[in-house]
């Protein structure tokens, strides 16, 4: 029954969390009843290929799970760009990216306002609209490409996890169990979301380096990024690419939970090193253009913006340390845990 477990596990990962267990129990019962019926008709147990054929008839686990969702919203401009299966993940990625960007913009404008600089409503609005346009375009483009791929290849999936030539599902080795417990395996949606979010972040970071107004907004007229940002640019780029690589590996091997834990610790340590160098710099924005005509109020504004960035970096460092400690603790606990864990039918064996 290993194949059934694999299928159920793949469906479970994409189900709404509140109903996951209940739906999987019922689906499991339905599949087993059907297989017993077929085995009864044939007078012998089903072979693995017969089991696989029955599961194939049920369709792509991703699509099947999507049918249980209450949210059937889609994104369409004339034709459908993002269907109901991917739409919840599209919203999640977009919300995260926009939330982060708007928080940065809000921080900059609040700091400017607090320092006595005149901040017009139009300035705030134009910055927000520009970011909205960039994020919306990038995330929508990436998701619509995935959607197109899935629509073009609806039947190209198998229990090893290939879906339309794109690994969106789970690859499960024969010796690996399929526990229904949450959190044991890395969700493929988590991996896909991270790849998309990191790709957008990569494009944004590259853009910010060349066009600082993408982060400073109208303040770019009189502010510029301090040299430290250009020094840490490549390490940040490297960390983002490393995260994409990690998520891609976990998309193919979601059972490599310890790999992710160890990799994340390295990435977090790298992030902390970057934050350390940033903190050491002491100045993160500088006056744009000539410094000779800087008024006292202007210098005061710069000092306040830098002070805000300092606090933000301190908070980021504290958060990073806390997350790093938590990740190390979790990894140590997982290494101490016995290799066996409960499963639907087969004994468990943790990946890698």
């Amino acid at each position: 029954m290993n194949l059934v477990d694999r299928y159920l596990k793949a469906v479970a990962k994409a189900l709404p969390e509140a109903q996951r267990e209940d739906i999987v129990r019922e689906l499991s019962e339905d599949i087993r009843s059907e297989m017993e019926d077929k085995a009864g008709e044939l007078g012998r147990p089903l072979t693995e290929s017969e089991q696989q054929a029955l599961l194939k008839q049920r369709g792509n686990p991703l699509v099947l799970a999507g049918r249980y969702r209450q949210d059937h919203r889609t994104l369409a401009f004339g034709r459908q760009l993002i269907g109901p299966v991917l739409f919840p993940f599209y919203v999640r990625v977009l919300s995260f990216n926009l939330g982060l960007t708007f928080a940065v913009i809000a921080g900059i404008f609040i700091a400017l306002g607090a320092s006595g600089q005149k901040v017009g409503f139009n300035d705030v609005l134009s910055s927000c609209l520009l970011q909205l346009f960039i994020q919306l375009s990038a995330v929508t483009l990436i998701f619509s490409l995935i959607e197109r791929h899935l629509t073009k290849n609806p039947d190209r999936w198998d229990l090893s996890g290939t879906c339309g030539g794109l690994r969106l599902d789970l690859k499960i080795g024969k010796n690996i169990s399929l526990p229904i417990d949450r959190g044991q395996w890395i969700s493929r949606f988590e991996s896909v979301s991270i790849i998309i979010a990191s790709t957008v972040a990569l494009i944004w970071v590259t853009g910010v380096q060349r066009y600082p107004f993408l982060i400073l907004g109208p303040a770019a007229r009189f502010l510029k990024l301090a040299p430290i940002w250009y020094q840490v640019y490549f390490p940040i780029l490297l960390l983002t690419v490393a995260e994409i690589v990690r998520a891609t590996i976990n998309l193919v091997r979601p059972d490599w939970t310890r790999f992710r834990a160890a990799y994340n610790i390295i990435l977090h340590t790298g992030g902390l090193v970057v934050v350390y160098y940033l903190l050491r710099a002491g100045s993160w924005v500088a006056a744009a253009g000539s410094t000779t005509g800087i008024t006292e109020q202007y210098a005061h504004s710069l000092a306040i913006v830098n002070q805000w960035i300092y606090f933000a970096l301190l908070a980021a460092a504290a958060l990073s340390v806390a997350m790093l400690v938590a990740k190390v603790t979790r990894l140590v606990r997982s290494l101490r845990r016995p290799a066996e864990s409960p499963s639907l039918t087969a004994p468990a064996k943790e990946g890698n």
Binding site: R25, E26, L27, E29, D30, E34, R58, Y68
Partner: protein
């Protein structure tokens, strides 16, 4: 060839639309007698209303959340199964839907 393929696609879509509308009625009617998911699917299939599980189970959940069905997990043949049956509201709605169905059917028969 292209025209024929397009007509076939259109017919298929219209056929599915027609069946989708009558599925709720079929499921409610079949659940006058308590059944679990798999036997319900078989019953519908035997009556010529083939429905795949990806459509049936979400539909059962929707009907239950609308108060038309009741369900409970129970052990049968040493296995836990979820049994569905019509609720009091479900019985009432089914009666009204059947009357509507008969009215539509007789109208159509008059036209055809």
């Amino acid at each position: 060839m292209t025209q024929s393929t397009s007509n076939h696609g259109l017919l298929e879509n219209l056929r599915l639309e027609l069946r989708r509308g009558s599925l709720v009625l079929a499921v409610l009617a079949a659940l006058r007698k308590e059944q679990y998911g798999y036997t319900l699917r078989k019953t519908l299939e035997e009556q010529g209303m083939t429905i795949d599980e990806g459509t049936l189970y979400p539909l059962l959940r929707r009907l239950e959340s609308q108060g038309l069905l009741l369900s409970e997990w129970r052990e049968e043949e040493k296995r836990n199964k979820r049994f569905y049956r019509l609720s009091a509201d479900g019985k009432l709605i089914l009666k009204q839907l059947l009357a509507e169905w008969q009215s539509i059917s007789s109208s159509l028969n008059g036209m055809l």
